[in-house]
């Protein structure tokens, strides 16, 4: 058994153990994220961290080798849910919990709308994303990218690919009709992070036409690509997201926010 969180800063001795005044330093509590570049939930956490000015070191749980089912990862996440995040002795698993933890530790105003009706609207669209969009994005990712990564002779299930493409038409049409203002439910909030992850993955795996053929979705996505971090840091969260090459080479960027 090995500790999957033993990487980056965690694999180095604290400065207080080697030099200095013995005080703990801020960067000694660096967040560590275990995830996969082709996993939408991992990308949601990275985007949230960048939006909130939180830095995180990352390491890959290789879904192409089913590492999420390994004994080492199941020791952290008993049900194999990705991603997992650690800060000091605290561990939280899954996008639902990890995003709010990161947000709670971050900078700037809260991402969730304060008005009850707008909050409900945000959560409804998050729910639509999770149930009507994410499963089909994951099918396309598995059949077109992750499957062949783990097995050179992998034969994509073309029927599943076509079914996933067809299933995305209705929710993406609904999203296109929904976007009437700058962002999905008005101001930038969590639901924009969710759909950024889905649509980015669609765009890098060759399905960009699904976005480009819908003018409101396309306009929203262009805005997201230049959206400056909510935290006031001079970064654009979208720039952290992996390219197709990054996914194939199992490369996940660290979340770096520059000087505070």
């Amino acid at each position: 058994m090995s500790d999957l969180f033993h990487f980056g800063s965690a694999a180095k001795p604290f400065e207080s153990q080697t030099e200095g005044d013995g005080e703990m330093k801020k960067n000694q509590y660096m967040m560590q994220l275990l995830g996969f570049p082709g996993d939408p939930d991992t990308l949601k956490v990275m985007l949230t961290a960048a939006e909130k000015g939180i830095e995180a070191e990352t390491a890959v749980v290789d879904m192409s080798a089913k590492q999420q089912d390994s004994e080492d990862y199941r020791k952290i996440s008993p049900l194999g849910i990705l991603p997992a995040l650690k800060e000091a002795n605290y561990v939280v698993i899954g996008e639902h919990g990890t995003c709010v933890f990161v947000e709670g530790k971050g900078l700037g105003t809260f991402l969730a709308p304060r008005n009850a009706a707008i909050l409900a609207d945000q959560n409804y669209w998050i729910d639509i994303g999770r149930t009507e969009v994410q499963p089909h994005v994951e099918t396309l990712m598995q059949e077109l990218v992750i499957g062949p990564m783990g097995d050179a002779g992998y034969a994509a299930d073309n029927a599943a690919v076509e079914a996933a493409r067809a299933a995305l038409v209705t929710p993406l049409d609904a999203l296109d009709a929904k976007i009437a203002s700058e962002y999905i439910v008005g101001d930038f909030c969590y639901v924009d992070i969710h759909f950024t992850a889905y649509l980015h993955l669609l765009s890098v795996i060759g399905e960009a036409e699904m976005l480009n053929s819908r003018p409101n979705v396309k306009g929203w996505f262009e805005k997201i690509k230049t959206h400056k971090s909510y935290s006031g840091q001079d970064i654009i969260a979208y720039d952290l997201l992996p390219s197709l090459e990054d996914i194939k080479s199992k490369t996940l960027a660290d979340v770096e926010c520059g000087e505070f």
């Binding site: 939280v92 639902h96 919990g97 709670g104 991402l111 969730a112 945000q122 409804y124 729910d127």
Partner: protein, 220 residues
């Protein structure tokens, strides 16, 4: 279940929930409404008869999501939206203030959601005589094992009563109605937690097996 928000006084328009007593999402909203002391009128949406897929309902909820909660002009569709709306409109807030607790609350709510299909499958077998999914018991056991381990040394899931307890109260209630109370009783931590939430007034408002068989959704 995201974030903190300001309460806003609203005219007493009355809140109405359209749902089904054998639907976990509906029952989670009933638990939340009772916990937040929100009065709800109810109307049956017979999901056993496929009403969520009929044109009139799809006109309100294009993807068939339910329950459907309405207060004046405001609408919250599905558990994710409905729970947040009820929490915001009702007494106090259930989201923990501490980031660590907030994170764990949402993780355990997510785990509860991952076993919602098998839990409903077991309930519907008991209530309507359908055949439960072959792997339903096994999937629920996996979730309960993780849940029981997480409850070690705790009275409630993340300290104070939270959204996570709302989700798992609905799950536990359905398991009991499905005749699977042994799945709770055989896990000491889960049993102690269940005995505690069962004492809360919100539990008394939940539908009985007979209510579900009769498709009776009582006002909260």
């Amino acid at each position: 279940m995201f974030g903190l928000f300001k309460k806003k006084k609203k005219a007493e328009a009355g809140m109405k929930l359209r749902g089904f007593p054998g639907d976990l999402s509906t029952v989670k909203c009933l638990v939340m409404a009772a916990e937040k002391e929100v009065k709800l009128e109810t109307e049956l949406l017979d999901t056993q008869a496929g009403e969520q897929d009929q044109a009139d309902y799809r006109g309100l909820s294009p993807f068939g999501k339910h329950p459907y909660l309405q207060e004046g002009d405001a609408v919250a569709i599905g558990a994710e939206a409905g729970l947040a709306y009820l929490d915001t409109r009702g007494k106090g807030f259930l989201n923990p203030k501490k980031a660590q607790h907030f994170g764990h609350q949402n993780y355990w709510a997510q785990v509860a959601e991952t076993i919602s299909t098998p839990v409903e499958s077991l309930l519907h077998a008991a209530a309507f005589g359908s055949t439960a999914d072959a792997d339903a018991t096994e999937l629920v056991e996996v979730g309960l094992n993780a849940f029981d381990a997480a409850l070690t040394g705790k009275k409630l899931i993340v300290g104070e009563y939270s959204y996570a307890d709302v989700h798992w109260t609905a799950v536990a209630h359905f398991l009991v109605l499905a005749g699977k109370q042994d799945m709770i009783d055989s896990r000491a931590n889960t049993k102690a937690w269940y005995d505690k939430v069962k004492q809360r007034p919100s539990y008394a408002s939940l539908p009985s097996l007979e209510d579900i068989k009769q498709k009776q959704l009582n006002a909260a």
